[in-house]
């Protein structure tokens, strides 16, 4: 019998990413390489990632800084071109769109909210110009009066006053600025919003307000979120499904409760151990050892093996594939695939 969850996933996903890769050439300039005999350096920021996001759901990507999660966000919205792999939005391969007009139709349905509310709003523009830019860029409304009206509505929707449109960004606090960013993201009536650490620059009390606003808007407009964060508490509050990233690869993808209640991958467990335990339940906690390796020179085999308490010879030799277990949880770890096969 099909569970309600399976029925949900049977509708085609809004976003499907397969085999996504992005390498950066960080070599020295040609002359330096020639004269100093240095070789080319390729930074593999994203090494083959697969995930999908269903309509109205939130998929969270978590991981330490430098693991490539922001690169994924930038790839999905088209700020970077993928080195390899496919991004399908609503069944359409993004790479197949060539003309500006076609791209614009797709871009209208996506939006992005950035991390730093002090850098993401043009300091020389008035707020109503910032918020209405997508409307003007996509030609959604004609006439200044109509755009003015709509900008006021958008500002009211995120809990600001329509009169705030007259002001400049520096007249607002961090939380208010992030509300302006959200209003701008909503301006083109998107289906899908990429949120790149939208609350990490904010105070904890303000974070909660912004997150609740985003959840409310998600319900109201049936939005899907790709939510990038390193804050597990925030992820637990927001996400439906969670992908844990390590060094450009996904090591575990599971529903949010599974991640937090029964983490499988050793790295996921390590991440969860970093959450403070204010109730002092005596939960066994392993100290986090080591740092994320340099992605220019990644470890052999499983990228996590130098920090993994359970690593074996096999882990050092070959990298594990992301395999789907019977429970539907996807995990990339030799130890777990071995035990599930038994």
């Amino acid at each position: 019998m099909a569970t309600p969850d399976q029925l949900k996933t049977n509708t085609p996903p809004l976003l499907r990413v397969t085999g996504l890769k992005r390498y950066f050439d960080v070599s020295e300039p040609f002359l330096n390489r020639l004269l100093e005999g240095k070789s080319r350096l390729i930074l593999k920021a994203v090494i083959g990632i697969d995930f999908k996001i269903n309509r109205g759901q939130t998929f969270a990507l978590v991981g330490e800084s430098g693991c490539g999660k922001s690169t994924v966000a930038n790839l999905v919205v088209g700020l970077y071109q993928p080195t390899a792999g496919k991004i399908e939005f609503d069944g359409i391969d993004v790479a197949s769109l060539t003309s500006r007009a076609q791209m614009a139709l797709l871009r209208r349905r996506m939006a992005m909210i950035f991390q730093d509310p002090y850098a993401s709003l043009n300091p020389r523009w008035r707020v109503d110009a910032i918020v209405s830019e997508p409307i003007r860029a996509f030609g959604l409304l004609k006439g200044t009066q109509a755009i003015f009206q709509r900008t006021g509505e958008l500002l009211a929707q995120v809990g600001l006053s329509p009169a705030d449109g007259e002001k400049y960004p520096h007249e607002f606090s961090g939380g208010q600025r992030q509300r302006i960013s959200i209003a701008r993201a909503l301006a083109s009536e998107p289906d899908f919003i990429v949120c790149d650490e939208p609350t990490s620059a904010l105070d904890v009390s303000v974070q909660a307000q912004i997150l609740n606003l985003m959840k409310g808007l998600q319900k109201k407009f049936d939005l899907s979120y790709l939510f990038i964060s390193h804050d597990l508490a925030v992820v637990r509050h927001m996400a439906d499904r969670v992908g844990v990233m390590y060094l450009g690869q996904l090591c575990e993808v599971a529903p949010v409760d599974a991640i937090f209640d029964s983490p499988l991958h050793p790295y996921t467990r390590l991440l969860l151990d970093t959450i403070p335990d204010p109730e002092l339940t005596g939960r066994s906690s392993q100290p986090v050892t080591g740092e994320i390796p340099n992605p220019i020179d990644p470890p052999s085999g499983c990228a996590f093996h130098p920090r993994c308490p359970e690593s074996t010879d096999k882990c050092r030799r070959e990298g594990p594939e992301l395999t789907t277990l019977d429970s539907g949880v996807q995990v990339a770890c030799h130890a777990i695939s071995a035990s599930s096969e038994k």
Binding site: A119, S120, N122
Partner: protein
């Protein structure tokens, strides 16, 4: 109605700003601004306020030549600061002359600014081969003194243009030459600021919605890099006035029939040892005051717009 409110708001913001406050605080700056405004206004209203039209040979009388200033025995109130070898009133020639000097300086700075800001934005934002080409040209050009480039261009124009057109084109050749020799400063500064700004998230946010590169450069980044451009433009204005004076002093600038301040000094210096000091001193003093005032304004603006000195 809304746009009127916007303008009111902008004006209100200006008088409420740090920049206006620092202007009010600095007496030197206020004095410099007053002098600059008075000199610019009197230069551009010269045809109405000057006692004589020195560009009209019909009004000149050689009998009036070498009249000393009014406080000498031979002086007359008709010629306040005396006359030159052709009987031209020095005071009027200074007004007309600074009009030409200022026009050349403003126009050439505008040309340098448009050229430099555009090339700086393009090379800073696009990077790659375009940036390398533009900046290497800039490097080569800055290794030549500006005067040399101006002399080169006016020399070229002299040989290319027919003789008859030469006099009427002289001012435009000068503007072009001084403008070309000054764009590098704008381009370098704008390129530097653009490279910082283009990584800001507001630029990414414009790229996400598919804004064209030109829109991002000129609508988003340009307003954020204009601060230093205004400072360079103001100080460059003083430099351009001096360059024009130097070129005209050397005799390759504007023709002596329509003298600028530099031309006046050149005409005057041959009479300096004959005792007719007023022909060279008064235009020289006017030039010094003008350049000093504009420079002081530029210095103040540099400090006022520098966030580290607020």
């Amino acid at each position: 109605m809304k746009s009127v409110l916007r303008i009111q708001d902008t004006v209100y913001r200006f008088f409420d700003s740090d920049i206006w406050y620092s202007f009010k605080k600095s007496k030197v700056t206020i004095a410099a601004a007053c002098v600059t405004v008075i000199m610019i206004l009197s230069a551009f209203t010269a045809p109405w306020i000057a006692p004589h039209n020195t560009f009209d040979p019909a009004t000149l009388d050689l009998m009036d030549a070498f009249t000393p200033p009014v406080w000498y025995e031979d002086g007359t109130p008709k010629f306040l600061l005396g006359t030159d070898d052709q009987g031209r009133d020095i005071f009027s020639t200074i007004l007309y002359g600074s009009r030409i000097s200022l026009f050349v300086a403003f126009a050439s700075m505008l040309l340098a600014m448009i050229l430099g800001v555009t090339l700086g934005l393009v090379s800073g934002y696009l990077g790659g081969a375009i940036e390398s080409i533009i900046m290497r040209i800039a490097d080569v050009q800055i290794s030549f003194p500006a005067i040399l480039i101006v002399l080169l261009i006016s020399g070229l124009a002299r040989s290319v243009l027919p003789n008859v057109r030469h006099e009427e084109m002289a001012v435009w050749v000068l503007i072009f030459a001084i403008g070309i020799s000054n764009w590098v400063h704008f381009a370098r500064t704008v390129r530097g600021s653009t490279m910082v700004e283009k990584n800001m998230e507001y630029v990414q946010s414009a790229r996400v919605i598919g804004r064209r590169r030109a829109t991002i450069m000129f609508r988003h980044i340009l307003p954020n890099v204009m601060g230093p451009v205004l400072v360079i433009g103001t100080i460059g204005l003083a430099v351009a006035v001096l360059t024009e004076a130097t070129i005209s002093f050397l005799g390759v600038g504007v023709p002596p029939t329509e003298p600028s301040l530099g031309t006046l000094i050149r005409i005057g210096q041959s009479f300096l040892f004959a005792g007719e000091w007023w022909i060279v001193i008064f235009p020289g003093v006017a030039l010094v005051i003008l350049v000093l005032a504009v420079n002081l304004l530029g210095d103040w603006m540099r400090d006022a717009l520098n966030p580290k000195l607020r």
